[in-house]
Amino acid sequence: MKMMKNMRKEPLTDTQLLMSITIGIFIVMYLVAIIFLGGGFLHAQQIFDMLNDNASLIIVSCALTIVMIGGGIDISVGAVTSLVVMSCVLYLNSGGNIFVSILLALGIGLGFGLVQGFLISYLEIQPFIVTLAGMFFARGMTTILSVNPQKSEHSGFEKLREMKIEIPFLGYTAKNGNFVPARMELGVVVALICVVFIFILLKYIRLGRNFYAMGGNQQSALMLGINVKRTRFFSYVISGLLSGISGYVFMMHTGAGNATNAAGMEMNAIASSIIGGTLLTGGVGNVIGTFFGTLTLTTIKKIVVSSGLNDPWWQSITTGGMLCFFILLQSVVLGKRAKKKNS
């Protein structure tokens, strides 16, 4: 953020530059997919499918973005998601009501956020270790609750789950002549609300600006009179809360609790944030970029599957390759800018 506001023609900040690269690459990739693979990629439903499948990943990636902008890391998000799904399904199956189950989800997430945030910011323990312990704890608790997969049998919740938002004008006519409207799950709406809310938080609210200041340079943030400890604490609390929301959205999508739910989600979320232009060093990042990062990650997987490379190892190899490409690109672009700035 060294760019001064009073410069006449304001150049892009690092955040904006990385974000526009991501969005550009996503659009190019999607166009390439349409040209070479055609078919499914032309329908709007394809995008909605990607959103439906990844609503919780988007929310968790937003959480990671906030924490990473603040210069920290939270690898407990996937495990907390899994724990929330399992406990909510068990609670609903034992005859609970939906409203309380939502509170339960938020409560679990908030609990993890509060404890982890306290340990990290006020006891100054390394975030990786604390959230690693959080991850172990949540995964362990999930299996203690139930080793076997649990399907939700709550009638009211099933109704909520079936509720889909239909957008007729984006639909398409199937081969048998039936008109299929584009369908979007409620979870996607929640995810989009989260994205918008966090965008506003990071852009216009003091707490959000403090995240950037803290991640950019902790010492100067302290000098500016920012309560660094409290700011860091809040970044983990928000992250925990979002993991709780993500758990509920995950449950709305799958409707079943399983010990292996959301396995590896934390790494996917970190990857999405990185692709979206967030730097692990802190101070740089944007939630809109993260949103497109998630979409990019999903699109590449879809492309791999649609091009007939069905072996399971293709997906992770292409994901790894793309991650490598993005990371190198960011490193080179930022390195060049830093050189230009210095000269």
Binding site: F128, G140, W313
Partner: protein, 368 residues
């Protein structure tokens, strides 16, 4: 920060040793309760070590303590390499599990393609696994040292696709290798009652000791970790040191991959050393090393690895199922790190000085 003089060379090792002592104490108390209070005749003490004959008719040592030092072998070897990477780069390699799967796959692939398995082919297989692991290590190292990418992000790439590469090496199969030599590496050499992995750990740690004694690697790594640009101005090639730390970690990965494969006699790319990267980083942290780089003690990480394994075995001995262990482990980890946190330590010292027991401060924090 006062002058960081430590007493008797302990200092940073206080926390891991206290943790180890607490675990031992816990088990002693548990033993006493079971033996003298419940008077359970079938109860076997946690610390009992006995000579048994295994199915190959060797006289071997068995017992919880043996399974602790045996089971932690891969972890200890990886923790040694990880300590170097952490110290030099101020970040961790999260791809060690995936890289070990690749090294194991290469090891099996070479053994499978040779006509017979004898000492020579095993050596060739190990050397090729080593070379491959070092190549992947230098890939990670290049990203970190040359392109200045955060280690965790750089190794995320290999973490994502490493196990798929391992899958691809053996064409998706999980081939088995049956040979007395492999069994000897994985469990016991005939005539020696100590498990071979433990001997390998001792050998590797001696190797590290020798390297540190005869080269300036330790000093250089610490200075690069404390301040890379200052080290460069003093004529230390910090890029090379960082790269070297990843390559050394690659060798450690090859060792632990080989042990992991030899234990079972087969390579399963999905489950071989699964989640070991997290345990490794934990071992480094419990060992009192700063995860932000700088000063380090390999010994601390080794003790950290044994603490983790002892915790796991203690929980198993208490009949906790293997999937639930994680939750209890997390609680103990949090307690340990809270004990070792700078804030708690400062408070503790204040209390001590208030009581008139003012000692010189012992700091486990890395150089700031």
């Amino acid at each position: 920060m006062k002058n960081k003089k430590t007493h008797g060379g302990l200092g940073q090792l206080t926390i891991p040793i206290i943790a180890l002592a607490l675990l031992v104490l816990f088990n002693v108390v548990r033993d006493l309760i079971f033996i003298y209070y419940f008077k359970d005749p079938n109860y076997v003490s946690f610390f009992s070590i006995e000579f048994t004959r295994n199915n190959l008719d060797n006289t071997v040592l068995a017992g919880n303590l043996i399974s602790i030092i045996n089971g932690a072998s891969e972890l200890a070897i990886l923790a040694m390499g990880m300590t170097l990477v952490t110290a030099a780069c101020g970040g961790q390699d999260i791809s060690v599990g995936a890289a070990a799967a690749i090294a194991g796959s290469v090891f099996v692939k070479v053994l499978k393609s040779s006509s017979s398995i004898n000492g020579g082919t095993v050596a060739i297989a190990f050397v090729s696994a080593c070379i491959v692991a070092m190549l992947f290590g230098s890939f990670n190292g290049t990203l970190v040292a040359v392109f200045k990418i955060q280690p965790m992000i750089a190794t995320l790439i290999l973490y994502t696709c490493g196990r798929s590469i391992a899958y691809w090496i053996n064409g998706g199969a999980t081939p088995t290798v049956n040979s007395p030599i492999i069994t000897a590496i994985g469990s016991f050499i005939p005539g020696i009652p100590i498990p071979t992995p433990v001997l390998i750990v001792i050998a590797v740690s001696l190797l590290f000791k020798l390297i540190f004694k005869f080269t300036s690697l330790e000093l250089f790594t610490q200075s690069v970790g404390i301040n890379g640009s200052a080290a460069r101005l003093n004529g230390i090639n910090s890029t090379f040191i960082k790269l070297l730390s990843f390559i050394i970690l690659g060798v450690c990965v090859a060792f632990s991959g080989t042990i992991g494969v030899s234990r079972l006699g087969l390579i399963n790319h999905e489950t071989l050393l699964l989640d070991i990267e997290m345990d490794t980083i934990l071992a480094v942290a419990i060992g009192g090393n700063s995860l932000g780089g700088g000063k380090f003690k390999i010994g601390g990480s080794i003790i950290g690895a044994y603490v983790i394994q002892m915790l796991t075995i203690t929980l198993y001995a208490m009949k906790v199922s293997s999937t639930d262990v994680k939750a209890y482990k997390a609680i103990v980890i949090v307690l340990l790190v809270v004990l070792g946190s700078p804030v708690v330590k400062a408070k503790f010292e204040k209390v001590l000085s208030y009581l008139g027991l003012n000692r010189q401060s012992i700091s486990t924090k890395g150089a700031q």
